[in-house]
Symmetry: C2
Subunit: 379 residues, 2 copies
């Protein structure tokens, strides 16, 4: 059987450029090492064992997951230190218990009294002391308890007094995605750090344990100037990067490791359109660059070699059709420039969303050969 | 094993309310019967054998697919009359040939001379007369040849003269999705019909065969007043409907048959937020109602019984977190109204995109029992 290449594989396909991915992994790990913290990658971005192994080989300690299905799959592949970083729903406690009884060092999180009580009651009823982190809100983005809120200590007492292992505090400054200057990103990183450390200090001042202080998002992890008091950092999308991260300012388009391989299947010459077989089913419906400093439509068009074709974007998408056009005046030479059958690669707005549209990645090595890496789908 | 119900199944889950789905199928089929045309559902919406069987049982003749993977899967399940309604890429011709040699009556489409030549050359080289429809552009939406363009006859001659079966013409007035009044929809349906019939007439006037005249989109299919000269209609999303179609004006929210079951996992009471476990991974990133007459955020919130909770929407979404809030003033009773563990159902903006996020549907019968229906993923 001949090895598959970018020229022979069926399209659309999700291509992971391995040298870029390795560069991104090394960059983040070096930064974490320099700041003296452990790094726990969020594997929700890739949902791929091969990629998580590359992160671990570079020095990552443990993983973060967004679903118990991810926990199951990565545990089956030998990852035992797993933080499930979505507020624990009561109906999922039996599944979490079962994972722990099979030897998985699964930590869970909560940000409310009702949820903490449910965890402690279920744990006691089953003779299990769950490792629980309290989710802290350091930027008003989504979930968590404000560092100075009385509820923080209340939740901590419910867990600790209820016989659970109070493992620490964690936060995610997701609003860093809305910023786009180094100053603002550095300030947000410091806000995330300081808020989480403050929450930890309040627990310790109350005589409660708080061994773990966990923070992170890709922009804050890369821009943080100091992480005093933090024990570990989490980040996900850095492994691929994407156009949203390019606009935030933490990568260049040349560092984006995920792209969608597509084929030109038609033209509307008067409009300057090439029709390609990567629609929203392949790219995802994510339009994360829509309100950023540069709007890439559904993606930035590149040649087969991965070089950006400046000004060419996916300007529209139906389920299996993408509309490729030049920004500004229509390119009426589009059919000559990109004849029927031309293969191109599209950089995505949001790598987590685009990756999720594919059952597998095609990992592209420096020799041009493709290797298939599986990824999970669903819950 | 106890039967799964909405109260016991893990969340998030894609729920198909069977009575609503059957109502939608019956409504469309009755309309097509009244207009005297065959109906060929587009199965890209559901990618589900069970659902396509229900469409066939109601009177549908043949199916439309958007990928050759769909063709493979439906052919394996006994569907033999299949229209692959995306412009044929040359590199996929061997796969199409193989399907036909295994007994699949697969039709393909083209809208350009280069592509038509590739089909004819490959067909002749392999002794295969492909059934080919010419794609016609009746609304400037995406692909196709304008009915009065000279290229139409050129492509027809390449195919017919090259020994292929010129099976007919097809069009899709996808811009009907941008309309929202009965008058505009009826006018678009007539534009779609007239343009496609005009293209067919030009072929016949030139002495070429054109047995099939195929049109359709959910809005135009439901709003067409006459379909003279049309032989078949295609539509997909009608089987579920969604909030985009509600805004277009061809269904009510009570007819939307697909919803995402979710669990409340936290609150931000001051903001009036409930945090649920349906984020964009479950809902998809589709924001199709953003520019319509009513913006539903990432979806309309309903109770477990499917009744709309007016004013409550998913106002934000991260990968596995949804932010549920009331439009207008924050609902500061949100934690009492929807306590931790509350199960809700969210109607999607775009059923095709939301369905694609799930490996399977849970079909909900009138008795409240759930049945698992598989669906395909990937290409």
């Amino acid at each position: 059987m001949t090895a598959l290449t970018l020229a022979t594989i069926d399209t659309p396909a999700a291509i992971v450029e391995r040298p870029r991915m390795q560069h991104n992994i090394a960059r983040m790990q070096a930064r974490m090492n320099a700041l003296g913290v452990r790094f726990r990658p969020h594997v929700k971005t890739s949902k791929c064992i091969d990629i998580a192994r590359a992160q671990r080989d570079a020095g990552a300690q443990g993983i973060t997951v967004s679903t118990l299905k991810e926990a199951e799959q990565f545990f089956a592949a030998g990852f035992t230190d797993i933080l499930y970083a979505v507020g624990m729903a009561q109906h999922r406690l039996p599944h979490a218990l079962e994972l722990r009884r099979r030897g998985c060092a699964l930590s869970i999180i909560t940000d409310g009294v009702a949820s903490a009580r449910a965890i402690a009651e279920f744990g006691r009823a089953n003779g299990e002391a769950f490792d629980v982190l309290i989710e802290v809100d350091t930027d008003g983005h989504r979930s968590g308890i404000r560092p100075d809120d009385d509820v923080l200590l209340e939740v901590a007492h419910v867990l600790h007094g209820g016989g659970m292992h109070l493992a620490g505090v964690m936060t995610h400054a997701g609003s860093s995605y809305d910023l786009d200057t180094p100053e603002a990103l550095r300030a947000m990183a410091e806000q995330e750090r300081a808020g989480c450390v403050r929450a930890a200090q309040r627990l310790r001042d109350a005589g409660l344990p708080c061994p773990i202080v966990s923070v992170g998002s890709t922009p804050t992890a890369l821009m943080a100037e100091r992480l005093d008091g933090v024990t570990e950092v989490r980040a996900g999308v850095y492994v691929f990067f994407d156009l949203v991260m390019r606009n935030v300012g933490v990568c260049s388009t040349d560092e984006v490791a995920l792209s969608v391989l597509t084929t030109v299947i038609g033209h509307q010459v008067e409009k300057g359109w090439a029709i390609v077989d990567a629609g929203w089913m392949a790219m995802s419906r994510d339009r994360g660059t829509q309100k950023q400093k540069r709007d890439y439509g559904y993606g930035q068009v590149c040649g087969l070699d991965g070089a950006v074709l400046d000004g060419y974007v996916l300007s529209g998408a139906n389920q299996e059709h993408g509309i490729l056009s030049h920004e500004g005046a229509p390119d009426t030479d589009i059919a000559t420039r990109f004849p029927i059958g031309t293969r191109l690669r599209i950089l995505p707005n949001h790598a987590c969303a685009t990756g999720a549209q594919f059952p597998e990645y095609q990992a592209l090595g420096e020799d041009g050969a493709l290797q298939t890496w599986g990824r999970f789908h669903g819950w």
